[in-house]
Symmetry: C2
């Protein structure tokens, strides 16, 4: 058996299987004896690494030896450490040109053209709660339509989704947490995958329906209605009023038809969750290739999960199209350093137990693997969580790495398709936007076959190249944007994963 | 028309209705002319109050005039301010003795005696998610039972509730936020209102199923089962495994029978939400009387919502049975000062827009009105959020004021009945524990008749005294603990209000 060596400069390689001490593996044509047990997909030193010396993977330092490490020894938390964080940002020093595909050869998909000109990939109706106190009413309205069978008469409507959350009150009305929630609700209310929206509040919450309308410049109309439970006279009256309002929206929503729309109007959110040691070199690299393709077709890619780029953000600042863009990224990094510091959390300690079990040791190692999924395009702009994305090309939207919170922000920002890489296996979906699951290894793909869309594990076995896998992903993006259901849609995910980032104190 | 004057020392009184400037109102037998418009239930100065002078309500300073105020003038944010916060704690200086009711005369209810000796008021099965990633699977399992009709064969089972939340990953595994979530999940898993529990994880999350079992000393068995989605091989397999495990629990759960249990085994959570200017003198005071009665019957009362006692905590430290107990409360107040400070929120700024529209101006005013609902008993102990309550009598459990978050902690701590006062109208329920709604005013009671259990508004009209209303509440607690459904149970609230307090950074 041979090891997987990602970059010629690396002093570690990956074990393809769980191997006991004493195993002999092929290493550059010679036999290397493992001096410790090594779990599958974990790192093995391919030469001696002295205490304090850099551990190199992806050709870059992912951390430092905390003990002398022998050739053939398992390398993980017990003998390496993240080390200090002092990057050289080198703003805009390596901005790649975009190799646009000729206009006549550009791809298109079948989507919904909304009245305001935006392009949708699904045709849902939404019930948006301003506050946890209205979630039961919102879900009761959605359940009415799910159980009554009335939607069978409106086949062009993909469904009615109730977006519930735990916030909206017990918060200041003049801080960052409030503004973040407001941006998130605003982004969903205006999302092109909704034909119509019903907004429901309790009446006395911090996130007032009327404040939301006023501050976001929204006006109600036939396809955007609002009500409160207190104003309706209680639960049953509010449910009935909501059912009536949505019933009135159904014929207009059903009249929406798909039409050909250029792929340049796709906004792809890239995301990873439950990464393993293969994620960086298989699924993330292939998704990066697909992202680069979409950018070449004139589209937009939203790359996020700020804690997961920490330790490798200096590679992004080099690709920023302007110093202001690079500075915005550095500002978000500083914000995160403050946010985690006041909350007593280490920003360089992000790999989850699952990540660690999968062989990832440090945040830099995870970050370099995670960065692959955004591709290699120039960085056009940096956005706040749930801020409306206005650029084409690759952009960064600030968010935590936690999947439901991050994707909620990406969709609020305008993503109309999501690609999600996973090594351990993800149970996630994101109504009203289709989520496409990319397995980093074939064992996972087989084990959770119904939950996964594309197997990127074949890259390791040499079945296809990263670029070929990226092309497969790009074609699947077009097909799913055009109406084909993704795995998580077939499993009806997405009713419980709307999770606005709650910043600040709950009071 | 006369004004409502709560305490003889007060220099403000309350207007019963919206009154325009120039209205003449009765004031101690003389006519007082209103010099400004006054909204219903808002404060009116009954004598001139000079700038800087204390505004007195409940006989205590609720704030200070920020301008000279004339007799007959509306008193609110525009002319008063909260002022500085420097209380004298006077530990244990006023500890009331408990006037226990003779054992032979003590009340009882019909409850469920669990194998470990604890007393339940409902007989649910639970599906508990460790992480947001398993919520869709949990809800799909619950939906299977709700839709299949199979529960009709198990009439003693109140239902199967899926407890979903937004957390469980994107978090440190060694901080306060993690420990808080673990205590919450532990409290629900062991709650006596559950005959059986199925715990579901994804597999790679921060809040690992196995860590939870180990750190909480839990062992699986016929009525406590666990699974992960990754371990089950995906969504459909996990749903099927969950359905099978719960199906096996149903006959045992259905065999549980109610029996007579002393009221001393009731643990009452008191809570308020959407308060108005009447809340303090009607619903909260009456609930306080019921809480005092339960303590006299040997029971337990959990009083919470730390931000809402801020500014009046010195009245509780006086009633603490020991200096250590008083100090624990002061420690939580200090913790809150830090928590709100690092998050840039003012702790003395808690009244929500709804509270303010209802006439409450400062946190002290709200706190004094809120404190009424805990009653007047000695304070036996102070607990962390979701910490298991081991005392009898009145205890304090630290929590935010936000209703779903606070009640989730109270139930995790062991509450088996909830009483919830509201002035603006609440849309809340708390499976597996019945929640009883107390309206602070009769207009609300009529307007949201199906959502409310008891009208406490008659106290203002002289229909019944605070003590008589407290006795009504106590009798209703016994009846509902014995199986009668509360208003929020009839409306099927409680599937969306499980909201563990998320402390700290989302990463
Ligand atoms: Ca939620
Ligand atoms: Ca990730
Ligand atoms: Ca993620
Ligand atoms: Ca309250
Ligand atoms: Ca509350």
């Amino acid at each position: 058996m041979d090891l997987i060596h990602i970059h010629r400069a690396d002093n570690v390689a990956l074990s393809r299987a769980q191997l006991p001490a004493g195993s002999l593996v092929n290493w550059r044509g010679e036999l290397l004896e493992l001096v410790t047990d090594v779990p599958a997909m974990h790192k093995v030193a391919v030469c001696p690494i002295a205490r304090g010396e850099a551990v190199l993977k992806y050709g870059q330092a992912i951390g430092f030896a905390s003990a002398d490490i022998a050739a053939g020894e398992h390398v993980h938390e017990h003998n390496m450490t993240a080390g200090a964080h002092r990057p050289d940002y080198a703003f805009c020093s390596k901005v790649p040109a975009i190799d646009y595909i000729e206009t006549s050869a550009r791809a298109s998909f079948q989507g919904y053209r909304r009245a305001n000109g935006r392009a949708g990939t699904r045709n849902f109706l939404a019930i948006v709660s301003t506050v946890n106190c209205s979630v039961t009413v919102s879900r009761a309205i959605a359940a009415h339509f799910a159980n009554s069978g009335v939607l069978r008469d409106f086949p062009n409507v993909d469904g009615i989704v109730a977006l519930g959350h735990d916030s909206g009150c017990g918060m200041s009305t003049c801080d960052e947490g409030y503004r973040t929630l407001m941006r998130t609700l605003h982004g969903y209310i205006g999302h092109p995958n909704f034909a119509g929206v019903l907004l429901i509040g309790l009446g006395c919450e911090a996130m007032q329906v009327n404040s939301l309308l006023r501050d976001c410049g929204l006006e109600t109309g036939p396809l955007f209605q609002a009500l409160t439970i207190q104003g309706s006279g209680g639960t049953r009256a509010a449910v009935q009023a909501g059912v009536d309002k949505l019933t009135e929206m159904l014929p207009s929503a059903n009249a929406c038809q798909r039409e050909a729309i250029p792929a340049s109007e796709l906004t792809l959110a890239v995301q990873c969750g439950g990464s393993d040691a293969y994620s960086g070199m298989t699924a993330n690299s292939a998704l990066g290739a697909a992202a680069d393709l979409l950018v070449r077709h004139g589209g937009t890619v939203i790359y996020s999960e700020t804690p997961e780029i920490y330790g490798a953000e200096h590679l992004l600042t080099r690709r920023a199209v302007a110093p202001e863009v690079a500075q915005k990224l550095v500002d978000r990094i500083r914000w995160w350093e403050h946010y985690t510091e006041i909350n007593g959390v280490a920003l360089n300690n992000n790999p989850s137990p699952g990540n660690k079990a999968g062989g990832l040791t440090t945040i830099a190692e995870k970050s370099l693997g995670a960065q692959a999924k955004g591709g290699t395009s120039a960085l056009q702009d940096v956005y706040l969580y749930a801020e409306q994305v206005r650029s084409k090309g690759l952009v960064f939207m600030d968010s935590p790495g936690f999947d439901p919170v991050s994707v909620t922000g990406q969709i609020a920002s305008g993503a109309n398709v999501v690609c999600f890489t996973t090594g351990r296996g993800s149970a996630f979906g994101s109504k009203p936007v289709p989520c496409i699951k990319l397995a980093s290894n074939s064992a996972l793909f087989r084990r959770m076959r119904e939950d996964m869309d594309i197997d990127c594990g074949g890259i390791v076995d040499g079945d296809y190249s990263v670029d070929e896998c990226g092309e497969m992903i790009f074609q699947r993006i077009l097909a799913i944007a055009s109406g084909e259901k993704s795995a998580s849609e077939r499993l009806d995910y997405g009713d419980n994963e709307f999770a606005p980032w709650r910043i600040g104190a709950v009071i």
